[in-house]
């Protein structure tokens, strides 16, 4: 017994090191495998507060740019409104971005785009009825999906994350694939599994597909920058994002009001 205690005292540094290293390794594994790590995240009270304070200061630096973006969006909305007397357009609007989706504005308080798994923190949380797996966009296009919420803050898994798999399609031909990221360039993401038959050309627009219950159909993503044929059966397309992911300030969180219904329907289908 004495020997065991002596052993512990003699090697206490190594044992402490081994223990703490194991703890951090488990936390790392958890963050790599489980898509919303429970313990360690920037949505907690303390870090959320600090990010909020710093972003309150730094957001003044690009007010001009952000004003311009909001102005562009306003003019686009005004154009829609002016044309909305047109009954055909009204019908089209109703069927796509209809009353099924609710939009909540939020401010980005921390944005990372230099790692392989990037997250964005925003200043709205489940107190503002945000939930996990809601889509996030800006006026220009796709940003990511909410993957953790706390009372006042939420964390978004951005499209610049090797674990993201967002359903997207070609605007002109409805052939769909999945958006992934190869970590090379924060302006360019990859659209995989586009069938060989799809008529694709550089400059084509990519939009979100309606297949997921997260995003409404037709949210802009980007334009085709380059494409290569993989294994002779599908294209991998480099998509240049319309959004500048390195400069985000205001985002919109999308709530799909029919989500529960859709998920229930899909589950009941699986059971049969």
């Amino acid at each position: 017994m004495q020997q065991i205690i002596y052993f512990f005292i003699k090697n206490k540094n190594f044992l402490l090191f081994a223990l703490l290293f194991l703890v951090s390794f488990i936390l790392t594994l958890q963050s790599h495998s489980y898509h919303n790590s429970k313990l360690i995240s920037s949505t907690n009270f303390f870090s959320g507060k600090i990010y909020n304070v710093t972003s309150n200061i730094t957001e003044y630096f690009d007010l001009k740019q952000q004003n311009k973006i909001l102005l562009e969006q306003n003019s686009m909305l005004l154009k829609f409104q002016a044309n909305s007397n047109n009954p055909i357009l009204q019908k089209a609007l109703d069927s796509t971005l209809s009353k099924n989706f609710k939009f909540t504005g939020a401010r980005v308080i921390n944005n990372v785009y230099s790692k392989t798994n990037n997250h964005i923190t925003i200043d709205k949380g489940h107190n503002d009825s945000l939930e996990i797996d809601m889509g996030v966009i800006t006026s220009k296009g796709l940003v990511g999906i909410v993957n953790k919420t706390s009372g006042k803050y939420a964390r978004i898994q951005s499209v610049l994350n090797t674990k993201s798999q967002i359903n997207a399609q070609l605007k002109k031909s409805k052939h769909f694939g999945f958006l992934t990221w190869n970590t090379q360039n924060p302006q360019v993401v990859q659209l995989t599994e586009i069938p060989k038959l799809a008529p694709i050309a550089i400059g084509d627009t990519i939009i979100t597909g309606g297949n997921s219950s997260i995003f409404p159909k037709g949210v802009l993503v980007g334009s085709v920058a380059n494409y290569t044929l993989q294994n002779n059966d599908s294209y991998t397309v480099d998509v240049r994002l319309f959004n500048d992911m390195t400069n985000l300030s205001h985002v919109y969180v999308i709530k799909n009001k029919n989500k529960q219904e859709i998920i229930q329907l899909q589950l009941s289908d699986d059971a049969e």
């Binding site: 206490k12 540094n13 190594f14 402490l16 090191f17 703490l20 290293f21 703890v23 951090s24 390794f25 488990i26 936390l27 790392t28 594994l29 958890q30 963050s31 790599h32 790590s37 360690i40 995240s41 920037s42 907690n44 303390f46 870090s47 600090i50 990010y51 710093t54 921390n110 990372v112 785009y113 230099s114 790692k115 392989t116 798994n117 997250h119 923190t121 964390r155 970590t183 360039n185 924060p186 390195t246």
Partner: protein, 169 residues
């Protein structure tokens, strides 16, 4: 450790952590190169103080950086490792004498100081990027990130040490 030293280390811990998460994590030089200057805390931690305490504080420092950057436990793991390896690296860079006649980092020759800082930074960065990227197929990305961030960090750490040199001694 005297009261004075405890106070200095607490201030150093908080200032370096905030500097890292608010400023240095957002530099993104050429897209992805960030310096990790918070290592200064581990580098300068009193050489004669308890090693157990250093390992524990390194873990705490790494974990607080992780909380801010949503990275699981990668900084904590890398910090704990360099905290644990520090006595050996000190012996390797300054010889056995460091334990007896309290070597000061700003009194040793530039070559020895550079060796010590470079070894610490590169071990830390290699573990950090291996765990962060976590895929053997991206080994080239791990190595280039380690190299570029490492050079950046070493330069920044040398500059910061130079700036605060008079205060330290």
């Amino acid at each position: 450790m005297q009261n004075n030293q405890i106070f200095i280390n607490i201030v150093r811990f908080s200032v370096l952590m905030l500097l890292q998460v608010i400023v240095l994590n957002h530099i993104n030089f050429t897209g992805y190169v960030n310096p990790y200057a918070y290592l200064i805390f581990i580098l300068l931690f009193p050489f004669d103080a308890s090693k157990t305490l250093l390992i524990f504080l390194s873990f705490l420092l790494g974990l607080s950086i992780d909380i801010f950057s949503d990275s699981g436990g990668v900084h904590a793991a890398a910090c704990v490792l360099v905290g644990f390896l520090r006595p050996m690296l000190l012996k390797f860079s300054f010889g056995v004498s460091y334990q007896y006649n309290a070597v000061k980092l700003n009194k040793v020759t530039f070559k020895e100081r550079l060796l010590y800082i470079t070894l610490m930074v590169f071990i830390h960065h290699f573990v950090l990027f291996s765990l962060e990227i976590f895929s053997p197929s991206h080994i080239v990305l791990i190595l280039t990130s380690t190299l570029f961030s490492g050079i950046f960090s070493v330069l920044l750490i040398l500059c910061i040490l130079l700036l605060f040199k008079t205060k330290e001694s």
